[in-house]
């Protein structure tokens, strides 16, 4: 709607005068209805998370005898849930595991996918359409389909790496590959083809063209994919639960285990849940623009 603004201001000379009353700075009509509804929605959307944060900061007794909304007057504040969840649920180790799993699993696929995306964008070859359609199709396949054979392949009957970081790196690299190729290829297709052509005439090899020209230009798309992939890997339950041993497992799996043993550890659960959200939230706020770009580039993941 921002296109209207200039138009409006131009056609209504009074816009300047009535700015304070009923109009926004850019001259659009102020809409009290939208303001109220959006405020309500924003509050409604945040309350559950806020409730969790409050509960995690209260003692077990306080949290069990009054609702989180009553905390301001009922009190019962404490930080001990956080220190105890680190001690009892081994959350520090799990947090480290989460990072060590997620960072390589986010970056490695980009390397492999970028070359494939380069070939799909700047080269002509037989079967190009067919191969790219495989990528589009594979994005839709539910990953559950792959688990049983992969457990055989990576487990003791096969390579024997199930339970280690390596297994999860490999799986996330493979599962993230179609989306990464797709996202990068869509972005590269918007880059000027003439750059590549003139570099070829200058005698650059494809590796050089990719490394010095295309990869730097495709950085925004890589960052977009990386943001999505990081959130996806960090928040993943299934793959981590199946392919990581208890010593190597992530915060999300620990959290799932805490949810399973409710009753005795209810106060630890809330603290654990909040800890599991800290890192993705930082990533989210820092890289929100990349995330949006990643999503608008047609991100579908199976």
């Amino acid at each position: 709607m921002s296109a209207t603004t200039t138009h409006d201001v131009a056609t209504t000379p009074t816009a300047e005068r009535v700015r304070g009353s009923g109009r926004l700075k850019d001259g659009r009509q102020r809409s009290p209805f939208s303001m109220v509804v959006m405020l309500l929605l924003a509050v409604l959307w945040s309350l559950p998370t806020l409730g969790l944060l409050i509960t995690s900061l209260r003692t077990r007794e306080a949290a069990a005898t009054s609702g989180w909304w009553a905390a301001p007057w009922e009190g019962g504040w404490t930080l001990s849930n956080y220190s105890r969840v680190f001690e009892q649920a081994d959350l520090g180790n799990a947090f480290l595991n989460g990072i060590l799993v997620a960072v390589p699993a986010t970056v490695i696929p980009i390397m492999f996918a970028a070359f494939a995306a380069y070939a799909f964008t700047f080269m002509d070859f037989k079967g190009k359409d067919f191969l790219f359609i495989i990528i589009v199709a594979v994005m839709v396949i539910p990953i559950q389909v792959a688990f049983q054979p992969l457990l055989d392949l990576l487990g003791p009957r096969g390579l024997g790496i199930s339970g280690q970081y390596l297994a999860v790196w490999l799986l996330h690299t493979g599962f993230g590959m179609p989306l990464c190729i797709y996202t990068l290829r869509n972005y590269m297709a918007s880059l000027p083809y003439s750059v590549v052509e003139s570099a070829r005439i200058d005698g650059c090899s494809n590796f050089q063209i990719f490394w010095k020209l295309i990869a730097p230009m495709a950085m925004p798309a890589m960052a977009a994919f990386a943001t999505l992939q990081f959130l996806w890997v960090w928040n993943d339950l299934l793959i981590a639960k199946l392919f990581l041993s208890n010593d190597n497992t992530t915060v999300i799996v620990k959290l799932q285990q805490l949810l399973g043993t409710q009753g005795q550890g209810a106060e630890l659960l809330t603290a654990g849940a909040f800890i599991s959200m800290v890192l993705p939230m930082i990533v989210f706020f820092a890289l929100q623009n990349f995330l949006v770009r990643g999503m608008t580039s047609g991100a579908v993941k199976g």
């Binding site: 709607m1 559950p48 199946l242 999503m295």
Partner: protein, 399 residues
């Protein structure tokens, strides 16, 4: 290393040996490299390099798993090495691939290089997705530990079970409710946010978008403790839903155990809608901002009401995005697992296909039945898959 195309192969090779992938900074010396035909030494180096890189990467990675003591049992060291070797190794690998293919006669080189660049990525897809998918279909015709074929028995058994159909019905409900509501909410929020001032719009959107960063498991924990929590009647209620109910004079309910009208399933769906509305809003909002203002202005001049403008002018123009969002959420919902698994694990009639699969496979060790379930899921996804391909083809045609 094309910079040295016109030089004798020997000097080329020496640079090849010591060079790291970034060292090829020398400006190209020849304007148009001429074809030198087959360069056997360069080819040999390229092929050996590829083999050596794969061997070294494979062994180093396996060493993490087999001999952690080599790395002082330090997870951090292994994590960092894994990252460096994964990324650096991939770069070196592609560089050697490039060298090997360039050593071929020009015509062959041009034919082969695209496939060479695609090969590593496609190998990974083949190993982690294509092969396992085919193998799963294969297992679905075999017994519990995949040792003997039993034809269609798994499918016949499943189709004869009430529990399986209950899970299917729940999945259908998820499919019917969640994508539609998510899209509708996304449109409403996007339209309303568009009418706010720029800074309020940004803030309001951030709050609704934020749950995107939260995992399904954490979201389940959030809703369980703050909204759906249940204490026996007479005790103070700590869940918002029961507290409100009690204020109104009702008896507190154990919400996630009520399967009348599948209420518990619907309450689980609410969590997913809460998580996904931000995603829908972001895409739809950018689509709405892309609607040309003169189309709206023209309708306004013709005397259309705001509601008419919304339905007759805005909606048709953002239809493409609506469908994209719908399909994305639909795919997510078809394999919904985490929320159901951690909150009810299928109890009280809340089971869904993906959760059933998980329990058959890991709680009961029924590989045959489990793979049959995912094969059914795979078949159910095919229409979406075909649609996506069709959609992609149309997009490409417009490019």
């Amino acid at each position: 290393m094309t910079s040295s195309h016109s030089q004798p192969p020997l000097s080329d090779d020496t640079t090849v040996i010591e060079a790291d992938p970034r060292a090829d900074d020398a400006p190209p010396t020849a304007a148009v490299p001429n074809d030198q035909g087959l360069q056997p030494v360069k080819l040999l180096i390229g092929v050996l390099g590829v083999a050596l890189t794969i061997w070294a990467m494979g062994n180093l990675f396996l060493a993490f798993a087999y001999y952690p003591e080599w790395f002082f049992n330090s997870k951090i060291l292994m994590g960092i090495l894994g990252l460096v070797v994964g990324v650096g190794g991939a770069a070196v690998l592609f560089w050697f691939i490039n060298v090997a293919v360039e050593a071929l006669p020009r015509r062959l080189e041009h034919g082969l290089i695209p496939y060479a660049f695609l090969l590593p990525g496609f190998t990974l897809i083949a190993v982690t997705l294509l092969y396992p998918t085919i193998q799963s279909i294969n297992y679905s015709f075999a017994n519990a530990d995949s040792t003997e074929y039993i034809a269609l028995d798994n499918y016949v058994q499943l189709f004869g079970e009430r529990a399986f159909w209950d899970a299917v019905i729940n999945n259908v409900l998820w499919i019917a409710i969640v994508p539609a509501i998510t899209v509708a909410l996304g449109v409403v929020v996007a339209v309303l946010a568009d009418k706010l001032s720029a800074s309020s719009e940004k803030w309001a959107k951030s709050f609704i978008f934020l749950p995107m960063a939260i995992s399904f498991v954490a979201a389940s924990a959030i809703w369980l403790t703050t909204v759906y929590a249940y204490q026996a009647p007479g005790r103070p209620q700590t869940g918002a839903l029961n507290a409100i109910l009690q204020q109104l004079g009702g008896t507190p309910q154990n919400w996630l155990a009520i399967d009348t009208a599948r209420l518990n399933s619907i309450l689980l769906m609410v969590i997913l809608v809460w998580l996904q509305t931000g995603f829908a809003m972001v895409l739809l909002s950018s689509a709405i901002k892309g609607v040309p203002e003169d189309t709206i202005e023209a309708a306004r001049i013709d005397g259309a009401t705001e509601l008419q403008i919304f339905w007759k002018v805005v909606i048709p123009q953002i239809k493409g995005t609506i469908i994209t969002v719908f399909i994305t959420v639909l795919i997510l919902v078809m394999k919904v697992f985490d929320i159901v698994y951690v909150l009810t694990n299928g109890r009280d009639n809340t089971d869904v296909i993906a959760n059933k699969f998980f329990n058959e496979m890991f709680a009961r060790g029924q590989a045959g039945r489990a793979t049959a379930i995912v094969t059914i899921l795979l078949v159910a996804v095919i229409p979406i898959l075909v649609y996506q391909i069709k959609q992609f083809r149309e997009q490409e045609a417009m490019r």
